[in-house]
């Protein structure tokens, strides 16, 4: 082909779509782009620049798929943390060799709402002896990952009575922005279930945030009377099973490295279950009225084989 030949300009359409939109401040969204030429051209491996309204580059979208005459690509992005309207511009670079002499641009707009706050509560013991103290963890997270250290957490009971307060500290292990506190509480004197609440007022923050709150169940029981010792064993290998979950509602524990666990249970009827990864559950039901030793022999899970697919 003659190197000086002029390639005829072709019509090009650049379309954009984002999911979700609207999107929380600092939250993830996916931006998709589709480029259509007439006639169709495979434009894969082209990189489209993504710019803010101030001209800052915030990403690059790679076209990787050519289907039904469209060259398509997508990128996962993070929304701005500043509430309010914002616009992104996506720029398809000029490619005179194929008849696209100028950049093709398209815009997409977002309206970023106030930051959303979430409260998380964990490490609540599954069964607490009535009137005894116990500890929980509670954390506060902002959708835009604001550093919510030093924020007030309030614990209230089902009558909305304030039971305890705490202040968030550093982030919890393996989370990105969950600032947490350890809170010591006292269980109710009556046996049964009740629902308490941890809340985090949003007042006093420079950037508008929503309030956060979460409820959690508190289960109080009678004191344990009988010791149930459980040994978990693999039925096929006869080896002990560590980290098996031993459950006699509402009491639960896990086996140690020797495959042993013990529960202290009030007398009564129980369904005792032992489960372990890769095994069928061991289940036994009956009345607990004395100390017991249970050897839970767990059958390994048998997966469907190619021979089993035989019809």
């Amino acid at each position: 082909m003659d190197a000086d030949a002029t390639v005829e300009t072709i019509p090009v359409t650049l379309s954009l779509l984002s999911t979700p939109n609207p999107v929380d401040a600092g939250a993830d969204f996916t931006l998709k782009a589709a480029v259509v030429c007439v006639p169709p051209l495979d434009l894969c491996a082209t990189r489209l620049a993504i710019e803010t309204s101030t001209g800052d580059d915030v990403g690059e979208l790679l076209l990787t798929e050519f289907e039904e005459g469209e060259s398509r690509g997508s990128i996962r992005m993070t929304a701005p943390s500043e509430p309010g309207p914002t616009i992104l511009t996506v720029r398809f670079p000029a490619n005179p060799d194929v008849g696209i002499p100028e950049d093709i641009c398209a815009e997409i707009g977002f309206d970023i709402p106030a930051h959303a706050s979430s409260v998380v509560v964990w490490d609540v013991p599954p069964a607490i002896e009535a009137g005894q103290s116990f500890a929980i963890h509670a954390g506060l997270r902002c959708s835009a990952s604001c550093a919510l250290e030093g924020r007030l957490l309030e614990v209230r009971d089902d009558q909305d009575r304030l039971l305890a307060t705490a202040t968030t500290g550093k982030t919890w292990q393996d989370t990105s922005a969950l600032h947490f506190a350890r809170i010591t509480l006292t269980a109710p004197e009556n046996v049964g279930n009740t629902v308490w609440r941890v809340s985090a007022p949003a007042d006093g923050l420079e950037v508008p945030h929503s309030d956060g709150a979460m409820t959690f169940a508190v289960t109080t029981t009678l004191a344990g009377e009988h010791e149930i010792r459980v040994s978990a064993v693999d039925a096929k290998t006869n080896k002990v099973i560590a980290d098996a979950l031993v459950h006699a509602h509402p009491f639960r524990t896990t086996t140690d490295s020797q495959g042993n666990a013990k529960l202290s249970l009030p007398g009564g009827d129980y369904r005792i279950m032992v489960r372990a990864s890769g095994h069928e559950p061991y289940i036994i039901e009956g009345q607990v009225k004395e100390n017991m030793q249970i050897t839970a022999i767990l059958a390994p899970e048998v997966d469907t084989t190619e021979m089993d697919l035989w019809a």
Partner: protein, 690 residues
């Protein structure tokens, strides 16, 4: 060659040049100006019928759509018989589903491997060092017994379905007759078989008929010698495979002896090697679109059209390249027309086409659930192209209802957090990026540690029972599979007496609940939406699940990790390609579940009796996709015993053949169907008149 050919290239199988340009110049021009490339292509509309207006770009004796088990077998067979053969495939590499299969290849009828094992003999190369795995009585087979087995009306499975009852008799007879010669043919083309070990689904009940395919680990990969390096086999590192082997090969020492590895690589690569060696040509990245017939509903078939469907690497955007390239024709024109004496449709079934598969199960219109091996094959795999094109020229269909009569046609996978949940593909193969992650196989027991929610964040079934598949078939008198003491009587009414079926029925219906319409769906399609496993860090710690690449990948849209449940819901909505609606109920669902755990009872699904229930409270929180898999398809084009496609009037459509999953009327799972169909089609196609 036909007399009315418009443009003729004297070199069979070579591209014809558009006037005024030699081939090199044409591609140069095409690369420099897309306009030019498009303008030179024959318009698709003009190619739909053979009215003399078609501009043929290639001329061969046999053109085959699809390079999988049926297509590659047909190609070699036709080439052996002297034909020029061109294969087009929508993928970038050869092998289709066969390449990621387990290579469990059920034939029988007294085939050479059955006879070898029955006699207690070993393979000629001396690779097999273990004794036979099946008793001689289990291997004493013939084609009449095989035919009886695969047309046995009396067999009903644990899902209450009849796998053999609706099979086409003529098709099954031809299949049974050709099983022994197909086994011989495969062995002549570098395929090595292990000891026979049972029978694959749909292969008949009375005898053991299925070995696997194997290669021996060695210092170099040498298909002729039957060896493969550990690196190429994908067994050198537990988390890597190779461009040669999309799925890491499995230890086959119990089936062969020390040093043997097996899976579809030991079947597909030898056949591909042989095909290329014998001069079969391939045009890859090219989807077969249309059959060209003299008139739309009459006359012989003249050829086919195929469009350029490039597969690009999802991270670099670069065009993918096949592992071997001998015999490849690099043609990037948008549409080409290929003239041939015979056309063989072997482009697979319709499990990858949500619109087509929805005629059997409307909820499977959901495109969020691709068919198995979708990463390797791409979105163009199993796209019903043969069925669609066949219908356009008047072909009939067969066995469409048989999609519903195989117990595991669709099922819930226990492998979470990956788009392609069926395979065990690892990084190292170019298409791994389409999976994005290998996923975590938590087994059925792992479902005790999570809640499963639908697209709006609501639970829909007892999670413990969600992945349970129907149990193995059983029959009066024993019964399980060959090699396990089977005492099965074919065509015996007792096999399907209702008392027995009631006792055997073991279907849990979790999949059906997963696919149900919910309030997140909108008309007209009422998509089921994706399904999510939700659990917390405590579950991860208890089970030792490795939340790291390559098992999970925060960028692939099938795995999410978050500090809170609300953030998790947002991430899923933002990151999963088919999460069309926000999971507005997820926080409430987790809160309700935690309340059920505190109460010790699950009033919604009565899960408390199956396994311990555990709260979802400890951050970080995880969401991994749960995939419903439609594995393969059993309905398709109607063919006769010569694999000739038959029209709605019962007449053969001359010069048109089909095989494998493109064909209906044969409820056989796996490779045995496709290879024999390919063998028959390749044999018959070369007998077509000029």
């Amino acid at each position: 060659m036909t007399k009315d050919k418009k443009e003729r290239d004297e070199t069979i199988g070579q591209p014809q040049e558009p006037s005024g340009l030699n081939r090199r110049d044409f591609f140069k021009a095409g690369a420099a100006a897309g306009v030019g490339a498009t303008a030179l292509a024959a318009p698709l509309a003009a190619s739909a019928q053979g009215d003399g207006s078609v501009e043929w770009h290639y001329d061969v004796d046999v053109v085959i759509a699809g390079a999988g088990c049926a297509g590659i077998t047909a190609a070699i067979r036709a080439r052996d018989l002297g034909a020029s053969v061109l294969v087009v495939d929508q993928n970038y590499d050869v092998g289709g589903r066969m390449l990621h299969s387990g290579s469990y290849l059920s034939l029988g009828g007294g085939d050479a491997i059955q006879k070898r094992d029955m006699a207690g003999e070993f393979d000629a190369e001396g690779f097999i060092t273990i004794p036979p795995l099946e008793e001689p009585a289990e291997l004493d087979d013939d084609v009449d017994l095989l035919f009886t087995d695969v047309t046995d009306w009396s067999i009903v499975d644990p899902k209450g379905q009849s796998p053999y009852r609706y099979n086409e008799r003529e098709l099954m007879r031809a299949w049974a007759d050709n099983c022994p010669p197909t086994r011989d043919f495969l062995m002549e083309n570098y395929v090595r078989f292990t000891r026979v070990n049972g029978t694959h689904g749909g292969g008949g009940l009375s005898r053991a008929r299925s070995p696997f395919c194997f290669l021996m680990l060695g210092d170099k990969t040498d298909i002729r010698a039957g060896t493969i390096t550990a690196e190429d086999a994908g067994v050198a590192h537990p988390e890597r495979t190779s461009p040669l082997a999309p799925v890491q090969m499995q230890d086959a020492s119990a089936l062969v002896g020390p040093g043997a590895v097996r899976n579809g690589v030991a079947l597909a690569r030898p056949l591909e090697f042989s095909a290329r060696e014998k001069g079969v040509q391939f045009i890859l990245h090219r989807k077969f679109d249309e059959i060209v017939r003299e008139q739309q509903f009459s006359g012989r078939v003249l050829g086919l059209t195929a469009s350029y469907t490039p597969r690009h690497h999802p991270e670099s955007g670069e065009l993918l390249k096949s592992y071997w390239s001998d015999g490849n024709i690099d043609d990037r024109r948008p549409v080409i027309n290929i003239r041939a004496k015979a056309v063989i449709l072997a482009s697979g079934g319709h499990a990858g086409n949500p619109e087509v598969r929805s005629m059997f199960y409307p909820a499977m219109r959901e495109p969020a659930f691709p068919t198995s091996g979708s990463a390797l094959q791409g979105d163009g795999g199993q796209d019903a192209s043969a069925l669609i094109a066949g219908l356009r020229v008047g072909a009939n269909m067969a066995g469409m209802q048989q999609n519903l009569s195989y117990p595991t046609t669709f099922h819930i996978s226990t492998r979470l957090g990956t788009r392609d949940a069926y395979t065990t593909m690892m990084p190292g193969h170019p298409t791994f990026a389409f999976r994005g992650s290998a996923g975590i196989n938590i087994g059925r027991a792992g479902f005790e540690e999570l809640i499963a929610v639908n697209q709006v964040g609501k639970r829909f079934f007892n999670e413990v029972r969600l992945p349970v598949r129907p149990g193995p078939n059983r029959y009066p008198g024993d019964g399980s599979t060959p090699g396990q003491g089977l005492d099965h009587t074919p065509v015996d009414w007792r096999n399907c007496r209702h008392e027995w079926i009631r006792e055997m029925y073991t279907y849990d219906h979790g999949l059906d609940a997963a696919l149900a319409i919910n309030e997140g769906s909108q008309p007209p399609n009422y998509y089921s939406g994706p399904i999510w496993a939700i659990f917390d860090q405590d579950a991860v710690d208890r089970n030792g699940w490795e939340m790291r690449y390559p098992y999970v990948n925060e960028d692939n849209g099938y795995f999410f990790k978050a500090d809170s449940i609300s953030q998790l819901a947002n991430k899923i909505h933002a990151g999963h390609p088919y999460q069309r609606v926000p999971l507005v109920h997820l926080e409430d669902t987790v809160g309700t579940w935690n309340g059920y755990v505190a109460d010790g009872a699950d009033p919604d699904f009565e899960r408390e009796g199956d396994a311990p229930m555990t709260a979802i409270t400890k951050p970080p929180f995880y969401a991994l996709s749960i995939m419903a898999i439609w594995h393969d398809s059993y309905g398709g084009l109607r063919v006769n015993g010569r694999q000739q496609v038959v029209d709605m009037k019962g007449q053969v459509i001359q010069s048109l053949y089909a095989g494998g999953e493109a064909v209906g009327g044969f409820n056989k799972h796996g490779l045995g169907k496709g290879h024999v169909h390919g063998f028959i089609a390749g044999t018959q196609a070369v007998r077509e008149p000029l």
